[in-house]
């Protein structure tokens, strides 16, 4: 089996506990593969370790065990090939919105002229709707949503191979969120970028993702399921809800969040394999498929719960 573009192998993260107590194991033995060009969302309850996984993918944090392999090379330390939208925006407060983007573009394209850097940055700020003077203001003078958009522009502008987005649209109103989601899809579709995105919004996940990873509650969280979203693209927000699979997928996700994320918490996969169960939706609900993604079509109409096939 060829290794995927991004491969997460046996990943564990423990934080030392408060003095004397046991260490906190956020997650253990997480295995994942993400193909080049894939758009993957990850959903899980607050505190289950999503940001921790994303930081390890970014190379900002070290796993306690295991490894992340991208393009056949082990990830060690951050790189411009992996762009990040941080959960807390992480803008530099002494720079204007524009400068927060230009410094990143400058770092990416060291031989560009000032004008090239400026025009490129402005293009991305325009894309997120920050123009007409707003781009010259400092982050402290911008609203939360505007800051988030600067941070999005900064990550998109360096056109990384892998985009890591940590709840990138959390602070945005529905309208802005919609238009930036559309931009994200447009940029992603027009390139061979791979996207790994954390979200709490199941509708957003279904609209955007090729695949949705579901994480159980921590500690000892794991990526229990990988839900394939086979709804054809381009997906239109208003139409997608009429797709026959839409509510099956949605219900499955909501049910996972409401019930199974708790029930499965702390449990090992029964057969000892820690690959997420692949779930596909046929005509009558979810189909679990133990073998890896890309295997032959699962039997239709069989509602198989969680690996008991």
């Amino acid at each position: 089996m060829p290794t995927p573009f991004l491969s997460v192998q046996g990943l564990s993260k423990r934080f030392p506990g408060p003095k004397g107590s046991d260490p906190l194991t956020v997650f253990e033995n997480v295995n994942l593969g993400i193909e080049k060009g894939e758009f993957v969302c990850i959903i899980g309850h607050s505190g289950c370790g999503k940001s921790t996984i994303l930081n390890i993918l970014a190379g900002l944090d070290e796993p306690t065990d295991g490894a992340v392999i991208m393009n056949g090379k082990e990830v060690s330390g951050p790189s411009l090939d992996r762009g990040i939208v941080f959960q807390n925006y992480s803008l530099l407060p002494w720079l204007s919105a524009l400068k927060n983007v230009t410094f990143a573009v400058q770092a990416r394209h060291r031989n560009w002229t000032k004008k090239q850097v400026h025009d490129h940055s402005i293009k991305y700020l325009e894309m997120v709707g920050l123009t007409g003077g707003a781009e010259l203001r400092k982050p402290s003078q911008l609203s939360g949503g505007m800051r988030q958009r600067v941070s999005i522009a900064r990550a998109f502008a360096i056109q990384p191979e892998l985009l890591l987005l940590d709840e990138p649209f959390g602070a945005l109103d529905a309208l802005t969120r919609g238009s930036i989601q559309d931009e994200l899809i447009r940029i992603w579709a027009g390139s061979d970028q791979t996207v790994f995105m954390i979200t709490h919004d199941v509708d957003e996940a279904i609209l955007l993702a090729d695949r949705i990873l579901l994480m159980t509650n921590g500690p000892y969280a794991r990526v229990a399921e990988s839900v394939q979203v086979d709804i054809e693209r381009p997906r239109v927000r208003a139409d997608i809800i009429h797709h026959p699979d839409y509510y099956d997928i949605r219900n499955h996700l909501v049910e996972f969040l409401a019930k199974r994320s708790r029930e499965l918490a702390g449990k090992r996969d029964e057969d000892g394999v820690s690959e997420p169960n692949v779930i596909r939706f046929g005509l009558n609900g979810p189909v679990a498929n133990k073998s890896n993604k890309g295997a032959e079509e699962p039997p239709a109409r069989a509602r198989v719960v969680n690996g008991a096939d």
Binding site: L60, G77, F86, L92, A104, I158
Partner: protein
């Protein structure tokens, strides 16, 4: 109509000043006439014009005199106030900037490296509480030059707040911002320049402001010791001449220059301030 807070504060300041000057003026003893002197006072030399704390009016007259010709030079013991302050400023600034040139890079090093932080901490802790004037004899012996020794004393007293604040500011830069530098593959120098320096600048400037304040405090004492020139020497010299009017005038000038130095640094601090 309610005047703005600033205007009212200004008015109150003016009133307070007038009241204080009034009390001071009224409390200053007038020179008594010979006939009223007791026998004891005559024996003690009371018939001579007596040295007394001068009234503000006398200080104003003195200030007018001195400030209308601040740069005259009539021999080693008679120089204008401008020249004396100039000498002091020259010593303070050269010692101070020498200290900054060492303290800020060293503070960066200490702040960025936990190893250096721990290794150098004991030295800093023991050297920092030493009164700068305690270095004076050693400095005079080693350097063999009173001018340079005064500069050295300024150097040694202004280095610690800058060193400690720089190290503290650099070590305390938010990890998120360092991560931004890391994800954009900025090298060490670029990270220091684009992220660490602006992030730590307000703390560094605070250290610089504390240092300049201390340096200006210390220079007066140092010049009293080494003598020759400078505002500290001027105060001491006028005291020896029993010219208390000049002493009071120079005290006010020391305060004024100190305030101007502090204001300048406060202005610089505002330039690098940012809001999170």
């Amino acid at each position: 109509m309610i005047a703005s807070l600033n205007a009212r504060a200004l008015l109150l300041s003016a009133v307070l000043l007038a009241v204080l000057l009034g009390i001071w003026e009224a409390a200053s003893p007038q020179q008594k006439l010979g006939s009223e002197l007791t026998e004891y006072e005559i024996l003690m030399g009371g018939a001579e014009p007596k040295a007394a704390v001068p009234p503000p009016s006398a200080v104003f007259v003195k200030a007018w005199e001195e400030l209308s010709n601040p740069f005259y030079d009539a021999g080693p013991n008679d120089k204008g106030i401008g020249i004396q302050i100039g000498y002091s400023l020259y010593r303070v600034l050269s010692g101070y900037f020498l200290a900054a040139a060492i303290a800020i890079p060293a503070g960066f090093l200490i702040g960025m490296s936990p190893l250096m932080y721990r290794a150098l901490d004991p030295f800093i802790q023991i050297l920092r509480p030493i009164s700068p004037l305690a270095w004076m004899p050693l400095a005079l012996f080693v350097i063999q030059d009173s001018q340079a020794s005064a500069i050295f004393v300024i150097f040694i007293c202004s280095i610690w707040p800058m060193l400690i604040n720089t190290a503290f500011g650099v070590a305390g830069v938010r990890k998120d911002w360092v991560n931004v530098a890391r994800t954009h593959e900025l090298g060490t120098l670029k990270t220091a320049w684009i992220v660490i320096l602006p992030a730590a600048a307000p703390t560094i400037l605070t250290g610089m402001r504390i240092s300049i304040g201390i340096a200006w405090l210390v220079i007066v004492a140092a010049e009293m010791l080494v003598g020759g020139t400078g505002i500290g020497y001027y105060v001491w010299n006028e005291w020896n001449n029993l010219d208390l009017t000049s002493v009071v005038f120079s005290i006010l000038m020391i305060g004024l220059v100190g305030m101007l130095l502090d204001t300048a640094f406060a202005y610089c601090a505002r330039l690098v301030q940012y809001q999170e």
